[in-house]
Amino acid sequence: MKYVDEFRDPVLAKKLVDEINKLVKEIDFAKQRPIQLMEFCGGHTHTIFRYGIEQLLPKSIELVHGPGCPVCVLPMGRVDDCVSLAERPEVIFATFGDAMRVPGSKKSLLQAKADGADVRMVYSPLDALELARKPENKEREVIFFALGFETTMPSTALTVLQAEEEGIENFSLFCNHITTAPTIKAILDSPSMQLDGFVAPGHVSMVVGEQPFHFIAEQYKKPIVITGFEPLDILQSIWLLIKQIAEKRSVVENQYARVVSSQGNLPGMEAMTKVFELREFFELRGLGSIDNSGVRITNDYARFDAERKFPVPNIKVADPKQCQCGDVLKGVIKPWQCQVFGTSCTPETPMGALMVSSEGACAAYYNFGNLPEMMSLKNIKEKEEAML
């Protein structure tokens, strides 16, 4: 496939790995502790595991898998809200496939569907709008579960604008969009984290441009590189980050210039500012409440807001006690160190959201990691703890 295959070239990957190995030797602190780079986006986590990129890197580079997987950071209470909306008899609840199996406190959307709720899996918000247009659904309300970081916001905003233009009244959003820069800021302000640089999300940047990330380089003095999703993209970005660290620089660089322009996508942002406004705060699973980390629908488009059209329970629900998604999301523990990883929590029967999505760190470790080794390490740790 054009623009994909050429960015998977193993010869060029080998070259990059050689260059990274050379550069790392110039960084003094790497002799005492690993260089920690965070890939924020779940899409990057997926590529890193699928292509075994961590195994190619020198031991002195550690990748920390960030919280950029929207279904993974969705609090359980919001899943309950989805189920409550979906179970209304007049509602057709349309959602991306990733969100179907995320456990709520009582059930997931998939279980709600099995129990009779009208839940439909769609590829695009436009497919949800098409459901609302159908004459047979005229008396029904189609609610689209709007989920995701800025990458997905223009698509839902443009769908609302389309609904307005056509005068479609039986369509609304359950808005759970979240914002990237405030989430990264919360990570940077967290005392338990010592990150040396960021692999920045390429497709979020495609929408918002470089500007929202400048504070990371300027105020926090951390190098940050906007990065594409193929293995060469990620390796080149790691090389650029290591280069900045070695040269003691911190700037925003754009590795993914074939898709990302520095000013972002203007028509997309225009649609977003019309339809959405910042929430004062929003809760992200594992990270807690973060200022300005979510958006809601503006007053002008209130009639497309499912939260204003219908009562939503909006109850905070704590994760199951055994579930350590929060610690994994913050990078405090590795997925296999969670007590339920690979035993009661697997991709087939997930307890936590990180095991549900293919972009979640736990599912990535489970599917692509060295499972026998991880489980034996886990058993040793558990035995040691039992002996104490």
Binding site: L12, T151, H203, V204, F229, A257, R258, P267, G268
Partner: protein, 96 residues
């Protein structure tokens, strides 16, 4: 969630609604092209564009020149240094 896939615009379906057909690995699908249309790049001029498709929307035009530059940089990576090393070796050879 945030993934995208490259495709090429092959047909305009509805210019007023900014809908086009995109071909992705031989599969054709209708997408919304509102995010890549501007005064300088009207709907009609989009045919043939390579775009990044995400949840039914063409989100960005892929810049062929930038893609070429990235790959070229990677191909040249390390070669300049190799050349310097070779040069210094040959200089040493001359002085001996």
């Amino acid at each position: 969630m945030c993934l995208g896939i490259p495709g090429q615009i092959v047909e305009i379906v509805d210019a007023s609604k900014k809908l086009a057909k995109v071909e992705i690995s031989g599969v054709r699908r209708q997408v919304n092209i509102a995010c890549i249309v501007s005064e300088d790049h009207p709907v009609e001029s989009c045919i043939g564009d390579w775009v990044l498709v995400h949840v039914g929307f063409a989100m960005s035009r892929i810049d062929a020149e930038e893609a070429r530059k990235t790959l070229e940089l990677l191909i040249e990576l390390g070669e300049a240094q190799k050349e310097i090393e070779e040069m210094s070796l040959s200089t040493k050879g001359v002085s001996q």
